[in-house]
């Protein structure tokens, strides 16, 4: 397999597998030895086998378009992203540190607000937060944990440093693809797993089950756990169904649940009602309970918030956890870690400018051509401005948006995010990628080994979201030969 040196010459980013002379890095050497032993045809055959496997396993996600909703096969690149265990372990520790602090922060915000009183977190940021739910004030969920499942997006800049891009604390998705990617690789390239020590990822469903089970309000009984999905038309429905199946728990929709006048949640079974202890919800706060949030919601369950506040049911992630999943709050995370844990952050934040402060806003407005501007509460890569690639008209439009609602915007320097060789038209070409590990917290802390690597399949593109044409790769944390 040939490396596209022309494309590589045109990007100035760090490559995960190749050094600046396009030689494989030590960690990727066995992989490249193997790949170069395959001829073109053999590799093509394997790629076709991968595509067939993906179709047969039915790994799809739904794309919404004017032409109707279509189920699309998950685009997958067979060249894995490889990282050494030595590099991974501090990252893993950093992820756990971050989630611990974020959960203490959320719990504080809904209770004493000590961090505000101590002047570390500005009251005006809190006031402007769209995801602060006053209905959650005064609640302390078990173990003080609000965000039980967190998907943290990491990127690597050209100097090799890993940065946290954002923390997804609402309903992060993608973990099923991490698991399925590994299954596919094992099926199609079994030889690779014999020659290298690749750390397994498959314990995630068990860890997730344990995390959820620990939240059950009924001690001493086998907890009844459900995954609450918006239904088959949700883009992540495949994942909801997959996780329910892997954990051996029920997959339910809002209409399957009911809350009685004693604020207990039941599901509608064929023999009557069965009490539910833990809900792993995959619907947003807004739709969770029409009694409290969006009254038009048909996805949620009337009375669910009453049941949760009374402690009769656990909800993961807890309602209101999204208050810390906000791109403006993000900029405070290093201070939040220092404040609650009295530790220095292990993982770095991307330097950020907050438009709510006059001097920083002025800098942003004057440097729109160098910056990436993000709205505070959007996800999926929507509503951002990538300054260096935008037209003047787009930049002017963002200037307006920022001036009209400064609290809602933050900006970061354009990172030269790293690439990895990806098979494009029979050659290995550099494509930009990120990494989303998943972190769990209830009575224990857990972080996945690696995570989901998402890759922008279009040349030069920095947008890795599956809703916008991104694909994925298997992620290997390997034991280096000593």
């Amino acid at each position: 397999m040939k490396i596209s040196s022309i494309e590589y010459a045109s990007v100035q980013a760090y490559d995960e597998l190749l050094d600046q002379h396009l030689r494989p890095r030590a960690v990727a050497k066995p992989l490249f030895d193997y790949l170069s032993s395959l001829d073109e045809k053999e590799l093509q055959d394997r790629r076709h086998a991968v595509e067939a496997t993906i179709m047969a396993m039915g790994i799809t996600f739904t794309i919404y378009s004017d032409a109707g909703n279509i189920d699309r096969a998950w685009p997958f690149d067979v060249v894995p992203r490889v990282m050494s265990r030595r590099e991974w372990e501090p990252i893993q520790a950093g992820l756990k540190q971050r989630l611990t602090a974020l959960n203490m922060f959320i719990n504080d915000l809904y209770n004493k607000q000590q961090i505000v009183k101590d002047g570390v977190f500005p009251i005006e940021v809190l006031k402007g937060s769209a995801n602060f739910r006053k209905q959650c004030v005064g609640v302390t969920p078990r173990f003080g944990a609000w965000a039980h499942i967190c998907g943290t997006d990491l990127v690597r800049d050209s100097d090799g440093t890993m940065y946290v891009l954002e923390d997804n604390l609402r309903v992060p998705s993608g973990v099923s693809y991490m698991l399925e990617n590994r299954q596919i690789m094992k099926r199609i390239f079994p030889e690779l797993f014999r020659t290298s020590t690749i750390l397994p990822v498959d314990d995630y469903p068990t860890q997730l089950y344990n995390t959820l089970a620990a939240l059950s309000p009924r001690n001493g009984e086998v907890p009844v756990i459900v995954v609450l999905t918006p239904g088959i038309y949700n883009s992540a429905y495949f994942e909801h169904s997959y996780l329910a199946q892997q954990m051996g728990v029920y997959l339910v929709e809002g209409s399957d649940l009911i809350v009685d006048e004693n604020d207990v949640v039941y599901m509608k079974n064929i023999t009557g009602l069965q009490r539910v202890d833990v809900i792993y919800r995959r619907i947003d706060d807004d739709f969770l309970d029409p009694e409290v949030f969006n009254p038009e919601s048909v996805l949620g369950v009337r009375g669910l918030m009453r049941a949760w506040r009374s402690g009769n049911v656990a909800i993961a992630n807890a309602p209101g956890a999204g208050v810390a999943d906000d791109k403006v709050v993000y900029t405070f995370v290093p201070k939040i870690i220092k404040y609650y844990l009295d530790q220095d952050p292990i993982l770095q934040n991307v330097p950020s400018y907050m438009c709510m402060y006059d001097d920083q806003r002025e800098y942003v407005i004057n440097n729109l051509d160098k910056l990436v501007v993000k709205p505070a509460n959007e996800s999926g890569g929507y509503g951002m401005l990538i300054g260096p690639r935008a037209t003047q008209a787009e930049r002017n439009q963002f200037k307006e948006l920022i001036l009209n609602n400064p609290r809602n915007y933050m900006a970061q320097p354009t990172l030269n995010i790293s690439t990895a060789p990806t098979i494009i038209e029979g050659q290995l070409a550099p494509r930009h990628l990120d990494l989303r590990p998943f972190v769990l917290q209830s009575d224990n802390l857990y972080a996945t080994t690696g995570g989901l690597t998402r890759v922008a399949m279009r040349q030069g593109s920095l947008v890795v979201n599956s809703s916008q044409g991104g694909g994925s790769k298997d992620t290997w944390i390997v034991e280096e030969d000593i």
Binding site: Y242, E253, I270
Partner: protein
């Protein structure tokens, strides 16, 4: 088991059974058109009534003719009993049930749906294509049943599938039996005898029952024997009695099924009151109507006991 999952499994099975039997019904109608002599006619309106679709058809079409009716039965999505609509519903239901069904089942049902979509146009070009198309649907459906029979654990999910399939099958057997009611042929027509024989043999063939009938019942084909066979022959899997026995056997293994068993037993009692000796097409048609009501009552009991169990549970008060 979740009530919604149970209901989806049950309807998935009913839709697939209905799709297959609608294909059988259409094959039978097409054959009938070839079999009836000059001087006889097929009442298209009556045919729709037999299929239970006359009201719905009137909403969308002005007159009852072969082309429109064929389209209505095969490909019109506004008709929830059309083959296309049935398979589409079954496919949507299967998507929500993937975690409790054999792995390949979704692919099979998805494959059947794609086959129908891709071949609809060809099938409507001529009779031969249509016949091949319908036969293929029937055999793909058989592969689906085979997968369920061979690869699925026989737990509650399996029982709900079996319940749905058996009720729908009994119902469709009676509807297909009723097709001859739509024929008008004067009794003094010189070909009356032979034509009626051909038409009843056609019904047996469309239900894959001809061989079994000959072996177990009689060599000669006549209405009383055919009707008796299709209602009562417990060894033939599409007979009403066989389907009711399957339903009862299933219910014996399921929780809280007493009321549904009572409804099933009523339908069985009704069966034993059928007198085929003094039978004519009109009496048969009336009897079939009654039989369908009994099947409907079994469905209502299943719906009430399982799909709406939570509504009747008195111990829990739901606040509005």
């Amino acid at each position: 088991m979740l009530a919604r999952d149970a209901e989806n499994l049950y309807w998935m099975a009913r839709y697939l059974e209905r799709a297959e039997n609608t294909a059988r019904l259409i094959i039978k109608i097409s054959d009938t058109l070839l079999d009836i002599p000059n001087g006889a006619s097929l009442g298209w309106g009556t045919l729709l009534k037999v299929a239970g679709l006359d009201q719905l058809y009137k909403e969308y079409y002005d007159d009852a003719n072969e082309n429109d009716i064929m389209h209505f039965l095969i490909a019109d999505e506004r008709n929830p009993s059309s083959i296309l609509a049935c398979v589409k519903f079954a496919r949507e239901n299967t998507r929500t049930l993937r975690e409790m069904l054999p792995e390949d089942l979704w692919e099979r049902i998805n494959g059947l749906y794609l086959y129908i979509q891709n071949n609809l146009q060809d099938a409507s070009k001529n009779r031969r294509n249509k016949y091949m198309f319908l036969q293929s649907i029937i055999s793909q459906r058989h592969a689906i049943i085979g997968l369920i029979a061979c690869a699925m654990e026989q737990d509650l999910a399996f029982h709900f599938i079996k319940l749905g399939r058996s009720i729908e099958r009994a119902d469709m057997t009676t509807r297909i039996m009723d097709i001859n009611y739509a024929i008008s042929l004067p009794e003094d027509h010189p070909l009356f005898e032979i034509t009626m024989q051909t038409l009843w043999a056609g019904i047996l063939k469309s239900l894959s029952a001809f061989q079994t009938y000959r072996r177990l019942k009689a060599f000669h084909v006549n209405m009383p024997d055919v009707v008796d066979f299709l209602f009562h022959e417990k060894r033939f899997p599409r007979s009403v009695r066989h389907c009711l026995a399957e339903i009862e056997a299933c219910l014996q293994l399921m929780p809280q099924s007493e009321k549904i068993i009572i409804a099933t037993n009523s339908a069985q009692t009704n069966l034993s009151q059928l007198n085929t000796k003094a039978m004519n097409l009109t009496k048969l048609h009336e009897y079939i109507d009654v039989s369908q009501l009994y099947l409907g009552k079994i469905h209502q009991a299943i719906d009430l006991v399982y799909f709406r169990a939570y509504e009747t549970q008195a111990s829990v008060q739901i606040s509005a």
